[in-house]
Structure formats: C-alpha cells, structure tokens
C-alpha cells in the first residue's frame, strides 16, 4: 500500500509510513500511515493519550522513532533533528506553550525568523549589517501579532502572559516561521470561543493566501470542524478513520472511542 502512494508524492507534502514510537511497553504511535495533502487544512483528533502529540514529536525530530519513515516534500526526514526539520520548512507549536519568559512578546515572535544576519558573531556588533532585515522582520511580526491578537502587548514579558495568551504567542511563533507546513498542537485550547473562531479563521486565510499546509490537533471539534477540510481520527496509536470531517465523525469507531454514545443520538 505505502509503495503505491509514493508515485503521487506531488500532492502530498507530509507522509508517514508505518511510523512507530514506543515508550517501554506502551506503543504510543502504532504503524501510522498518514498522507497530508499539500495546501490543506486538516485536523487530527482523538482521545487523550491517543498518541497525537507523540506523532508530532516524532515527525518533527523531537523524539527518535522506533520504526517506519517520515517523508516531507518527498524527502526522507526520519532521522533529522528538530532544528533540521524546521530549516526544511516544517514548523510546529507545542501543546504546552514554550515561551521565552524573559524576552518580550515581540522578541518571542522575532526569534522564529532564523535568517537574520544580526545573529552572526561578526555581524551582530555592526548594526548597519542587520538593521534593515530587523525592521522588515518586526513589521512582519506585527502582522502575526495582530492575527493572534497580541499586538497591544508586544512589550510585555513572555513570562507575564496568561495561559491562553501564551498559547496564542506559541501559535504566532509557528506562523512567523515562514514554514511550508505547520503542525499546531491544540491552537485553541484554553482560548475563549470568540477568539478561537478568529484564530481558526485566520489560520484558514493564511493557508489560502500563502499556500501553507496546516495540520492542527484539536479536541474542540464543535469549533474546529467548521474550518478544516480534512480530518484524521486517532485512537490507541492508530489512525481509525480519515476523510471529510462530517463523515469521519459519523464513523462508528470514532463515536465509540471518542465522541461517546450521546453523539449518535444527535
């Protein structure tokens, strides 16, 4: 099966083949095959402990896989480090936001730009060598801050943010990366409903306008499913259903393992 798909790699930006990750006896990710279409906006959902975050960790080089392969843009990235996958254009955010507490909100976003000449040890003291790039980067950062609604708080310290704002800032970092594909772990967890809609709307427009592929992990399907065009359901480390969102949530396996019986009556 996996072999057949490789011919159509052009429309697939990210694929995993029999990807497996174990923690001792626990198989957190169990031979997962997933194809993510280029330019799509999809959601990966499933019960707590299904293995969603672990899948992201392995794909982005955060954890070493125990088996299988990861292909990004047709290239095998299974053994690359986290920094190498980022440089290839695959960015992620964290379920538990990772903010630099002693940098300002703006600086937290600016760090995501990794091609600033002012990071060089020779160029850093020479302002003229990076000032222009820095200004452009700041302008771009404000556009992102506006998307996540933090532009007024740009000079607050990262460590002073509330949990929800920290979440937004982390999503902002992923947006700032300029990556071809974003893996965003629970972008709207702990965020108010109105802001949650705004964020997903904006993610969708970014995907449309810039052709970025976005995969979110989310539990709040009532909100998320309105925006995505594809859904993957995961349970016990396996993909149990995938396809058009409205169909996936009607799949019996999904109702049983995730949504609960009440959902069926509705």
């Amino acid at each position: 099966m996996p072999m057949q798909n490789e011919g159509k790699m052009d429309d697939v930006i990210l694929a995993t083949r029999n990807l497996t990750k174990r923690f001792g006896d626990l198989v957190a990710v169990d031979k997962v095959n997933m194809d993510v279409k280029r330019g799509s906006f999809s959601v990966l959902f499933g019960p707590n402990g299904a293995g969603k975050t672990t899948w992201v960790n392995v794909v982005t080089g955060y954890l070493k896989k125990d088996g299988g392969r990861v292909l990004f843009n047709g290239r095998d990235i299974s053994d690359l480090s986290a920094s190498e996958t980022y440089r290839l254009g695959l960015a992620r955010s964290f379920q538990i936001p990772r903010i630099f507490p002693r940098l300002t909100v703006l600086e937290n976003i600016l760090i995501a730009e990794n091609e600033n000449p002012g990071e060089g040890f020779f160029k850093a003291p020479i302002r003229a060598s990076w000032e222009k790039v820095e200004k452009e980067t700041v302008e771009r950062a404000f556009k992102i801050l506006e998307i996540v609604g933090l532009e007024d708080r740009w000079d607050a310290l990262g460590g002073e943010l509330s949990g929800g704002d920290a979440k937004l800032l982390d999503v902002g970092k992923a947006l700032m990366s300029g990556a071809k594909m974003l893996l965003i772990d629970e972008p709207i967890a702990g965020v108010s409903p109105s802001l949650a809609h705004t964020i997903l709307q904006r993610l969708r427009s970014i995907m449309k306008m810039q052709g970025v592929t976005i995969l979110i992990i989310e539990h709040r399907l009532d909100i998320a499913l309105r925006y995505v065009d594809y859904a993957y359901a995961m349970a016990g480390g396996r993909i149990i259903a995938e396809g058009e969102p409205s169909k996936v949530i009607k799949a019996p396996e999904v109702i049983e393992s995730y949504l609960g019986e009440k959902y069926r009556i509705k």
Partner: protein, 356 residues
C-alpha cells in the same frame, strides 16, 4: 592611617579595567547564554602564560641570542629590555602581537573546552568539566617547567619601558609606564565593551537569551544550539585571554601560581552576580565595587590587623562569601536585574507597528 597615593589609584584603575574585560566577557557566556563557566581562570591563564612563554623567546630569536632561554632567562630578558627601551615601534609591535596571540590562545582553549557538548554532555556538566580542565591546565603549567619554570616563573620583556625612556622631565618613569598599561588596557576594554554591549542589543543577544531560557525550544526554531555555545565560548575566552596578557605585561613576571581559580574564576563570578546577570551596567558596577573593596583591604591590611578579631588574611575570603550569600538571599537577581534589551528602539518599533 596613611592615605593611598596616586600610584595606588593608577594600579586600581588597571585592575578594574583588566577585570572588566573578564567580567563583561564572562557575562556574555554566563549571564546572556547561560553557560555555567567555572573555568574562566584558564582563559586568562592562556593569555598570561603565553606572555611568559612567547615574547621573550621571540625577541631572543630576533636578537640572535643562542643561549638556553629558560636557563638564562633573567639575563636574556634584561638584554631584551635594553633593546625594547629604545625601540617604541618594536615594543608596540610585540605588545599588539602578543595580545592577538593571547586572544587566539584563549579562543582555541574555549573552543576545545566546549567540545564535550558534541559528545552529548549537558550544559550543567560542561560547567563542572570546565572547572576540572582549568585545574589540570594550571597543574600542568605549575609542574611542567619547560613552559615558564613552574613555581619560579619567568620575567617578561617590558613593552612599556620605552615610555619611561621618552618621558618628559619632572615625570617619574614609573608613572609613564602605568599610563602605558592604562591606555592599552583601555583600548582592549573598549573593544570588549563595545562587542559585548552591542551584541546584547542585537538579534544575536536575543538569540542567546532565548537559548538560556529554553535551549530545546530554540532548537525547534532551526538553530544548532551546540554550535552557538561553542562560538560564545570561543569569543568570550578570546576576550578574557587578552586580559591575561595585559595582567602579565603589567606584572612583568608570571609564575605557575598565577591565574588561580579563586581570583580569576570565583571573584569574577561574584562580581557578575552582585552586579546583575545579563546586565552589562550591573556587571561594570559590580566589578568596580568588588575590585575597589579588594584593593583597599589589601592596602589597609596592616592597619586592620588591630581592629579585626581575626587575621586580615582571611578578610577577603570572608567578605567574598558573606557578600555572595547576602546577595543570593536578598537580591538574587543582583543590584541591577536584567531588563529587556531590544535591538530597535521603542520609537522605531512603534513606527513600524503603525505601518502594518
């Protein structure tokens, strides 16, 4: 009680400047980047011991002196000084060359000492490893006589002697010499301060702080953090290496006991912590306060003998310990806590913000 004379203050200035070079470069590694460097003394030692090893031999070679260098070092250095005294150009050349090589020696040491990171060692353990490497380094210099005759040490050619020779009437040659040391240290300090301060206000400074706060997160943003640690260690040790050269030239003599860990690692750490980590202003003030205190204690040691209930020999250590403990309890973030340093000014940023 006598009041210190002008020479005391000139020497005080020299000490302050030399240690500022060390603490500012140390702050770059520890305060900004979070490398717990307990081996700083060897960076200064790299420059200082190089000063005992190289300039004398180089001059002896250039002057065609064939005798065994270390065996006749006192006589040979005297001969060299006669030549240097009349040759300002040669003196300055020797000074600059040694400073550059001292920086190179420090830099190479910093690079080598941080290589264990590539074997997967964690940052905290690197700090301890650095302490161990520093102790071995000093032990080798102390016991392996072919370098600088170990505990006997060696005299060092004096690149400032010509200043006394050419000095105006009514001015003591020793004063001119001290001025020479001050001006040279001032130039090296200016370079160091410019580098450290401008880096702290650059995208690199931001990156270093981010690494200190969450190394793995920075990795996730596409940076090779280990390489950055190695670069910081190289640059920071190179700057400190020059401080070692300056100190050795100022002393005109270096022995295997110099550049010990108390004076050259622990004191600088205390100065940076007292002033405030990742705050260059704090580092400068912390250094000035500590060095001034230390020099005054040394000056009044004899008088203090009668006031203190213990020998003044212990005063320095007791003071260092007490001050550090008090600081860590009452002002754990130093006299001047870290503040955000943004590469662009607030006005510039607000302007850019309005454009979007």
């Amino acid at each position: 009680m006598v009041f210190p004379g002008i020479d005391f203050f000139l020497v005080l200035i020299i000490y302050i400047m030399i240690f500022l070079i060390i603490t500012l470069s140390y702050n770059l590694a520890y305060g900004y980047t979070g490398i717990p460097d307990f081996g700083r003394a060897m960076a200064a030692g790299a420059g200082g011991f190089l000063c005992g090893y190289l300039p004398g031999r180089l001059m002896a070679y250039l002057m065609g002196i064939k005798e065994d260098y270390l065996g006749n070092v006192l006589i040979i250095v005297d001969k060299i000084n006669v030549v240097l005294e009349k040759d300002p150009l040669m003196s300055i050349g020797l000074l600059v060359l040694t400073l550059i090589l001292g920086a190179a020696a420090g830099g190479i040491l910093g690079l080598i000492a941080s290589l264990p990171l590539f074997r997967g060692i964690r940052l905290f353990y690197l700090g301890v490893t650095l302490l161990a490497i520093q102790i071995s380094f000093n032990t080798i210099v102390y016991h392996w006589e072919p370098i600088i005759r170990g505990e006997f040490g060696v005299p060092i050619p004096d690149p400032f002697k010509w200043l006394g020779h050419y000095c105006p009437p009514n001015v003591a040659p020793s004063f001119m010499r001290l001025m020479g040391v001050i001006i040279t240290s001032g130039i090296v300090l200016a370079i160091t301060a410019y580098y450290c301060i401008s880096v702290s206000r650059s995208p690199l400074g931001r990156l270093l702080k981010a690494i200190r706060d969450d190394e793995r997160s920075v990795e996730a943003l596409g940076r090779d953090v280990r390489k950055i640690y190695v670069k910081v260690m190289t640059v920071s040790y190179a700057l400190t290496g020059m401080a070692g050269v300056l100190f050795a030239f100022y002393q005109r003599y270096v022995i295997g006991l110099n550049f010990d860990k108390v004076a050259w690692t622990f004191w600088p750490i205390a100065m940076v912590i007292l002033g405030g980590l990742a705050n260059n202003k704090g580092t400068v003030i912390g250094t000035i306060v500590f060095i001034t205190l230390k020099r005054f204690i040394m000056f009044y040691k004899a008088d203090l003998e009668f006031i203190l209930p213990f020998s003044p020999v212990w005063l320095e250590g007791i003071l260092l310990g007490t001050l550090l403990m008090a600081m860590l309890i009452y002002r754990p973030r130093g006299l001047f806590p870290e503040t955000p340093e943004i590469p662009l000014s607030r006005e510039e940023i607000e302007k850019l913000r309005k454009r979007t």
